[in-house]
C-alpha cells in the first residue's frame, strides 16, 4: 500500500501536523455523511452532523489512542447522532429514538427513498445502524465490534440475522 494508513496519518495529526487532517477528510467524509444520511434520512442534518464530527476530530485530535481510526471516527459520528436526537427528544431512549424520527422524516420531507432505503427503515435503529456500518461503509466485524462494544463473533452472527430480515423486507417491496 503506497498511501499511509489512517492510523499513521492520524498519529501525525495528533502530533501537530494539522494539514494531514485534509487527507482523512477526503478519505472519510463521504462515508460518515452516508452513514448519517442512511440513519437519519435527512440530508441537511447529515451534513451538519458530519461537519461536527470533523470539528471534533480537530478539537480532540490529541485524545486519539492508536486504535483503529475508522472505529474512532464512527464512534464520534455515532455519539453525535445519538446526542442530536436525545437533545431533540429531551429524553434518553438510546438510539431507538431514531426509529420514529426516521419514519417522521419520510412523511414530512418526502425525500425520495429507494426500495432499499425503505427496507432499511423497517429495521429497528440498532439493526439498521449495524448493517449500514457493515455493508454500506464496509466496516469490518472487528472494528464494528469495537464501535458498539461487542465481540467480532457476536457482531457476525447478528449481521447475518439482520441481513436475513432486511432481505425479507427488500424482496417484499420489489
Amino acid at each position: 500500500m503506497k498511501e499511509p494508513s489512517d492510523e499513521i496519518v492520524m498519529r501525525q495529526v495528533a502530533d501537530g501536523n494539522l494539514d494531514l487532517l485534509k487527507v482523512l477528510f477526503n478519505r472519510h467524509h463521504k462515508h460518515v455523511y452516508n452513514y448519517l444520511y442512511k440513519m437519519s434520512g435527512d440530508k441537511m442534518l447529515s451534513e451538519d452532523l458530519t461537519q461536527d464530527v470533523f470539528y471534533k476530530l480537530i478539537k480532540y485530535r490529541s485524545s486519539y489512542k492508536n486504535g483503529s481510526f475508522v472505529s474512532w471516527l464512527f464512534t464520534i459520528a455515532r455519539n453525535n447522532l445519538k446526542s442530536h436526537f436525545t437533545r431533540d427528544a429531551k429524553h434518553h431512549e438510546d438510539i431507538s429514538v431514531l426509529e420514529y424520527k426516521s419514519v417522521e422524516n419520510r412523511d414530512n420531507k418526502q425525500e425520495d427513498y429507494s426500495h432499499l432505503q425503505n427496507a432499511l427503515n423497517k429495521l429497528d435503529a440498532m439493526d439498521r445502524e449495524m448493517v449500514v456500518l457493515n455493508k454500506f461503509q464496509e466496516i469490518r466485524y472487528e472494528e464494528l465490534a469495537e464501535i458498539i462494544g461487542s465481540t467480532p463473533g457476536a457482531v457476525k452472527t447478528r449481521i447475518c440475522r439482520i441481513l436475513k430480515k432486511l432481505k425479507g423486507y427488500y424482496l417484499e417491496s420489489i
Binding site: L18, I58, L163, L171
Partner: protein, 263 residues
C-alpha cells in the same frame, strides 16, 4: 453424511472473507442444497442492491466549512507555539520586564490607594465644613435675635465666616439694619452688608434705610455706599431727604456732593 445448512456463512461467502477451507465446504453444500441456493440467490439480489445504492453526496459547503475550521485551528495553534519560543529566547529580559511590571503595578496601586484616600478625606472635610457652616448660620441667626445688643453685634459680625451668604442671612442682616433699636448694631449690619452691594435685596434695604435712618453717621455711610455703586433708584429718596427740615445740614451737604456723581 448429513450437513448443516450454511445460511449463516453465506454473507461472508459472498464477501469473500471466508477462509478457503470453509469456502470450499459452503460450495460443496450449495451444490446439493436447493434451500441454501435460493437463500444465496436472494442474498445476491440484496447485495447487488446495496452495491448499486447511490451514495448521497454532501455539498461543497461541508468541505469549505471544514477547511475554514482547520485554518482557524492552525492559526491559533501556531500562535501559541511562537509565543512559547519567544519566551525561551528572552527569558532573562522577560523576567526583568515582569519584575518591572510588578513594581509598576505596586506603585500604581499605592498611588491609586492614596488618591482614593485623599478624595475620601476631602469628601469628609467638605461634609464637616458644610455642617459647621450650617451650625454657624443657625448660631448667627439666633444671636441676631438676642436681647443684648453686644450679642446681636457678635451675630452680625459672624458674616465674615460666610463668603457667599444665602438669602436667609442677608434678609436677617437687612432687618437688623432697618429695625434694630441700637445704633451700633445697625452700623455693624450696614458694614456687613456693604460687602454685598451687588445683591438687589441689599440695595433695596439701603434705599429704604435711607428714608428711615436717623443716626447721621449711618446716614452718611449709606449715602456714600449708594453713591459708590451709582444706584439710580436712590436719587428719589435722597432728594426727599434734602427737602426734609429735620435733616442735618452736613447730611444735606453730603447728598449735594454725592448726587451729581450718580447722574
Amino acid at each position: 453424511m448429513k450437513k448443516e445448512h450454511v445460511i449463516d456463512l453465506l454473507p461472508e461467502y459472498l464477501d469473500n472473507i471466508l477462509p478457503e477451507t470453509k469456502s470450499a465446504a459452503v460450495e460443496k453444500h450449495l451444490s446439493a442444497c436447493t434451500q441454501c441456493q435460493k437463500e444465496l440467490e436472494e442474498l445476491k439480489i440484496l447485495f447487488k442492491a446495496i452495491a448499486d445504492e447511490p451514495n448521497a453526496v454532501p455539498s461543497d459547503r461541508l468541505r469549505n466549512r471544514f477547511e475554514k475550521a482547520l485554518e482557524l485551528e492552525k492559526a491559533t495553534t501556531t500562535k501559541v507555539v511562537s509565543i512559547s519560543e519567544g519566551y525561551k529566547k528572552s527569558s532573562w529580559a522577560s523576567n526583568m520586564l515582569k519584575v518591572a511590571a510588578s513594581i509598576a503595578l505596586l506603585v500604581a496601586s499605592f498611588q491609586m490607594g492614596s488618591v482614593f484616600q485623599q478624595k475620601k478625606s476631602n469628601d469628609d472635610l467638605a461634609f464637616v465644613q458644610n455642617e459647621s457652616l450650617q451650625l454657624k448660620q443657625t448660631a448667627m441667626l439666633s444671636l441676631m435675635e438676642n436681647q443684648s445688643a453686644s450679642k446681636r453685634i457678635q451675630g452680625v459680625n459672624y458674616i465674615e465666616e460666610f463668603p457667599n451668604p444665602d438669602e436667609a442671612i442677608v434678609k436677617a442682616l437687612t432687618n437688623r439694619l432697618r429695625y434694630d433699636e441700637n445704633d451700633n448694631v445697625r452700623l455693624n449690619a450696614f458694614e456687613a452688608l456693604s460687602k454685598f452691594t451687588s445683591s438687589e435685596t441689599v440695595k433695596t434695604a439701603f434705599i429704604e434705610a435711607l428714608g428711615t435712618e436717623k443716626n447721621p453717621s449711618i446716614q452718611i455711610a449709606i449715602i456714600q455706599a449708594l453713591v459708590q455703586i451709582q444706584e439710580k433708584k436712590a436719587i428719589g429718596p435722597m432728594q426727599k431727604l434734602l427737602e426734609r427740615e429735620d435733616t442735618q445740614p452736613f447730611i444735606k451737604n453730603e447728598i449735594k456732593l454725592g448726587l451729581p456723581k450718580i447722574i
